[in-house]
C-alpha cells in the first residue's frame, strides 16, 4: 500500500539567486571519496566547541570539545540521550545559548561555497552583530521540538513570515506575501492564502510543525538545524514531517543538522551520524557504517538495547546498566566507563580518550581503538 506523495515541483519565482546549482554541490559532496571529511569540503565544520553553564553550583561543561562536519546537501544526524549536549551544540552554532551558558572555546567554520574554501568562523562574530543576525534565519535556519516557541501568539502567521523575509530579503510586501503563501503550500498546508491571516494557535500540532518549517525555509537557508522536530509528534505525523524535510532538502539542496534521541529516525533520514554522550562526541561516521559496524561500546549497546519492528515478541534485549550521570558529576576518565561492558580498569577511569579515525570513514573516542 504505497501512495506517491504529490510533490509540487513548480520552480519558485523568488528574489533568490543561487550561484551554485545542485549538481555542482553534489559533486563536492561526493568528491570526499569515502575519506574522512576535511574541513574544506564541509559547509559547516565544528571544531573543539565548548559551551559551559556557569551556575550557582559550579560550571557545567554541557558541550565539551565537540568536532563534526556537515557536508553540503547531506544530513548529519546528532544522536544522544538527555544531558549529552546535542541541543546546546545546535544552539551554540547560532549563538543562541541562554544565560548562564556561554561558548568558551572552539570554531564554527561556515563555508557556503565549499569549492572555494573561503570559510568564516561564526564565533568570530558577536552574538548580536549584524553578520550573525544575517546568518541566523537567513543562511542557517533552525526548527524546534516545540513549534510554539518559534511563533508569537500575538501575530498572524503572515505577519511573522513577512518579518523574517523583510530581515533577509529585498522583496516588496506583495512579493513577500506571495512567497509566504507559496511556502505554506509547499509544506502541505491546505488553504495557504487564508492561513496567512490566521494566528498560530489555530494550527494543529502537525500543521504548526509544517508552518515552522515553512518559516525556516522561506529564506532558502544553506543549512537547516532541526532540533528534535518530531519528538513530540505521533508516528504518522512524524513520517509526514520526515518526508517533508527530505523533500525540502532535495528541492532546495541544503544541508540538515538533525538532532534526535531516536536511532530509528537517524536510520531513516541521516547520511552521517555523530553520537554524543555527556558533552563529547564518542563516535562519528556514515550512517551505514554506524548501523553495520558501530565501534564505540556505547553505540553498540544503544543499537542492541532498543527494540525495533524486527524484534520478535517477548524477546529480551540486552540493556545498558546504570543511568546517565548528571553533567555535573561527570565520571573521571571516559565518561561512559561506569556503564561500559568493555571497561578496562586503570585506563578508562584515568585518562580521557581522544576522537580518532579507526578506518577510512569512522572516528571513535575509545581506548579500545587507541594505538591502532
Amino acid at each position: 500500500m504505497t501512495t506517491e506523495t504529490t510533490r509540487p515541483t513548480a520552480p519558485l519565482d523568488s528574489g533568490f539567486h543561487r550561484n551554485d546549482d545542485a549538481s555542482a554541490r553534489n559533486d563536492v559532496a561526493s568528491s570526499g571519496n569515502g575519506e574522512s571529511p576535511v574541513a574544506g569540503d564541509a559547509i559547516l565544520s565544528v571544531r573543539g566547541l565548548e559551551t559551559q553553564f556557569f551556575t550557582d553550583e559550579g560550571v557545567v561543561r554541557a558541550v565539551d570539545g565537540v568536532d563534526f562536519d556537515v557536508l553540503p546537501g547531506s544530513t548529519m544526524g546528532i544522536v544522544g540521550e538527555s544531558g549529552c549536549g546535542k541541543s546546546i551544540t545546535a544552539k551554540s552554532i547560532l549563538q543562541i545559548v541562554e544565560a548562564p551558558g556561554r561558548i568558551t572555546n572552539g570554531e564554527i567554520n561556515y563555508n557556503p561555497r565549499p569549492e572555494t574554501s573561503s570559510s568564516t568562523d561564526l564565533l568570530s562574530f558577536d552574538a548580536n552583530s549584524n553578520e550573525m543576525r544575517a546568518i541566523r534565519g537567513g543562511e542557517i535556519s533552525m526548527i524546534f521540538q516545540e513549534p510554539m516557541t518559534s511563533f508569537s501568539g500575538l501575530h498572524t502567521f503572515g505577519n511573522q513570515i513577512d518579518e523574517t523575509l523583510r530581515l533577509h530579503t529585498n522583496l516588496t510586501k506583495q512579493e513577500r506575501f506571495d512567497l509566504g503563501v507559496d511556502w505554506l503550500a509547499r509544506v502541505g498546508i491546505p488553504n495557504p492564502t487564508q492561513r496567512m491571516h490566521e494566528y498560530p494557535f489555530r494550527f494543529s500540532g502537525g500543521q504548526l510543525q509544517r508552518a515552522m518549517i515553512a518559516m525556516a525555509m522561506c529564506t532558502n537557508p544553506r543549512v537547516l538545524i532541526a532540533d528534535e522536530p518530531t519528538t513530540a509528534l505521533d508516528v504518522t505525523t512524524q513520517a509526514q514531517i520526515l518526508d517533508l524535510l527530505q523533500r525540502m532538502q532535495e528541492e532546495n539542496d541544503m544541508a540538515i543538522l538533525f538532532i534526535t534521541h531516536d536511532l530509528g529516525v537517524i536510520s531513516e533520514i541521516a547520511d552521517d551520524v555523530t553520537v554524543m554522550y555527556l558533552g563529547k562526541v564518542v563516535e562519528t561516521g556514515p550512517v551505514f557504517s554506524f548501523f553495520d559496524e558501530p565501534k564505540h561500546p556505547y553505540s553498540k549497546a544503544l543499537l542492541t538495547s532498543i527494540p525495533s519492528m524486527f524484534t520478535s515478541s517477548r524477546e529480551r534485549l540486552p540493556s545498558i546498566s546504570g543511568s546517565i550521570p548528571h553533567p555535573q558529576n561527570r565520571p573521571i576518565g571516559c565518561a561512559f566507563h561506569p556503564r561500559c561492558q568493555s571497561f578496562m580498569a586503570g585506563t578508562c577511569d584515568v585518562g580521557e580518550p581522544e576522537l580518532q579515525s579507526v578506518n577510512e570513514e569512522q572516528e571513535v573516542s575509545c581506548f579500545l581503538y587507541e594505538g591502532r
Binding site: 545498558i320 543511568s323 558529576n329
Partner: protein, 385 residues
C-alpha cells in the same frame, strides 16, 4: 513473594546498582522540606528580608522592653522634639549618651530646641523605666534608657523625637508595630481558615460548588475597596472599645485577603488532581481524607505560606490606609496608621518631618514580606533548578 529473586539468575547487567547513586551526596538524602530550606538559604535577598521580618516580630513581642518612655505619656513642654541620635562614643571613649536639648520659644512663640553636646544625658543599658507586663510578669527594665524614673523633660531621651503632644515617637513606633502586625497576623489566620477551606472545597469537588465560590470571589474582588471600607467604618459605632474596633478592622481587611488564598489553593488542588501521584494514591485505595491531607495539602503548604506572607503585606498596608484615613483604628490606639494620621497636615510635616518615620517602617516591612514570599515560592518549586 519472590524469595528467589535475588539468588535467581540475573540475566543482565542491571543488577549492578547504578553507579551515580552510590555516593551519598548531601542533597540526595535530604527531605523535601530540607531541600526547600536549602534552596531558600541561597536566595540572598529573601534571606535578608526574612531577617528583617524576624526583627519586626521581635519588636511585636518585646515592644515595651525596647521602648524608652511610656508611649502614652503626654508632656506639653516637650512638643515636637527633634530626634536625638544615640551616640556610642565620646571622643574615642565608649560612652552611650545623647546630647541634651535646650528648649526655648522663638519670636512666634514656637518651641525650638538647641542641641548642647557639652551637656550629656547618660544612657544606660537595662535601665529602669515605666512598668509593663511581659509573659505575665510585671517588669520595669528596658533595653536602654535614663535610669531615673522621675526624669524631667530636659533629661528625657527621645531618639526619634516627639509628636505634637510630646509623646516619644520611638516608643510609640514599637507599640504601633505590635498592633499593626497583630492585625495582620489575626487577619491572616482568618483568611487562611476561610481561604484554604473554600479553595480546597472548590478545587477538590469542582462542579456547582466550585462555580458558586469562584463567582463569589470574582464579585468580592470587583468591589472598590475604599468606598466599602468607608461604608463599613461608618457602621462601627464610635464608642466601641479599642479591642472591638481592632477585631472589626481585622475582619474587614481579611474580607479581601481570603479570596487570593482561596484562588491559590484552588489552583493547586486542580493542578494536583491531575498529578500522577494523586492518581497513584487513588489506585492504591487511599480514601479522600488521606489523599487530601497526606498527598495534596503537603505538596503546597509552602505555596500557602508564600501566599500568606504576601497577604500579610497587603493587610499591613490596608490597616495603615484605613487608619490614616481615620476609618480604622482611632486614637488612643497606636498603630502605623494612627501615627501617620497625625502627620496628615503639610505644615506639621514641614515642622516635624520625623513624624513620617512610621511610613519608612511600613515600606521596609512590606518590601521584606514581599521578598520573603517570593523567595519561599521559588524555593518551594520541587523540580526548580
Amino acid at each position: 513473594m519472590v524469595a528467589g529473586s535475588q539468588t535467581g539468575p540475573q540475566p543482565d547487567v542491571h543488577e549492578r546498582v547504578d553507579p551515580d547513586a552510590e555516593d551519598d551526596t548531601k542533597v540526595e538524602v535530604m527531605s523535601q522540606r530540607q531541600l526547600i530550606w536549602h534552596r531558600f538559604r541561597r536566595h540572598r535577598l529573601a534571606m535578608t528580608a526574612t531577617v528583617i521580618v524576624a526583627l519586626f516580630y521581635l519588636i511585636v513581642i518585646f515592644s515595651d522592653f525596647l521602648a524608652t518612655n511610656d508611649p502614652e505619656d503626654i508632656e506639653a513642654a516637650r512638643q515636637y522634639t527633634p530626634p536625638q541620635w544615640l551616640r556610642v562614643f565620646d571622643g574615642f571613649k565608649p560612652d552611650l549618651h545623647v546630647c541634651r536639648l535646650v528648649g526655648s520659644r522663638d519670636e512666634f512663640l514656637r518651641k525650638v530646641y538647641v542641641k548642647d553636646c557639652d551637656q550629656k544625658v547618660d544612657v544606660q543599658i537595662f535601665a529602669r523605666g515605666y512598668e509593663y507586663k511581659l509573659f505575665g510578669l510585671t517588669l520595669d527594665r528596658h533595653l536602654f534608657g535614663v535610669n531615673d524614673p522621675e526624669v524631667t523633660a530636659e533629661d528625657a531621651i527621645f531618639i526619634l523625637g516627639t509628636d505634637v503632644q510630646g509623646r516619644d515617637l520611638y516608643s510609640r513606633l514599637m507599640r504601633g508595630t505590635r498592633l499593626s502586625l497583630l492585625i495582620g497576623l489575626t487577619g491572616i489566620f482568618i483568611s487562611l481558615i476561610v481561604g484554604t477551606s473554600l479553595g480546597a472545597v472548590s478545587g477538590f469537588y469542582g462542579g456547582f460548588v466550585d462555580n458558586l465560590i469562584q463567582r463569589s470571589i470574582e464579585i468580592i474582588r470587583s468591589i472598590p475597596t475604599i468606598p466599602l471600607y468607608l461604608g463599613l467604618a461608618s457602621a462601627f459605632p464610635a464608642d466601641w472599645s479599642v479591642e472591638r474596633r481592632f477585631f472589626a478592622i481585622t475582619i474587614v481587611v481579611s474580607l479581601f485577603a481570603w479570596t487570593e488564598l482561596a484562588r491559590v489553593v484552588r489552583g493547586r488542588f486542580l493542578a494536583m488532581r491531575q498529578e500522577d501521584f494523586v492518581t497513584a494514591a487513588i489506585v492504591a485505595g487511599a480514601n479522600q481524607r488521606r489523599i487530601i491531607f497526606r498527598h495534596m495539602l503537603p505538596s503546597f503548604y509552602s505555596h500557602i505560606i508564600a501566599a500568606s506572607t504576601l497577604s500579610l503585606a497587603f493587610m499591613v498596608i490596608s490597616e495603615t490606609t484605613l487608619s490614616f484615613l481615620g476609618l480604622g483604628l482611632l486614637p488612643p490606639a497606636i498603630s502605623y496608621g494612627t501615627m501617620l494620621f497625625t502627620a496628615q497636615n503639610v505644615q506639621t510635616v514641614a515642622l516635624a518631618p520625623w513624624l513620617l518615620i512610621p511610613g519608612i517602617f511600613v515600606v521596609v516591612l512590606v518590601l521584606s514580606l514581599n521578598f520573603m514570599g517570593d523567595g519561599i515560592r521559588d524555593a518551594a518549586d520541587p523540580y526548580g533548578s
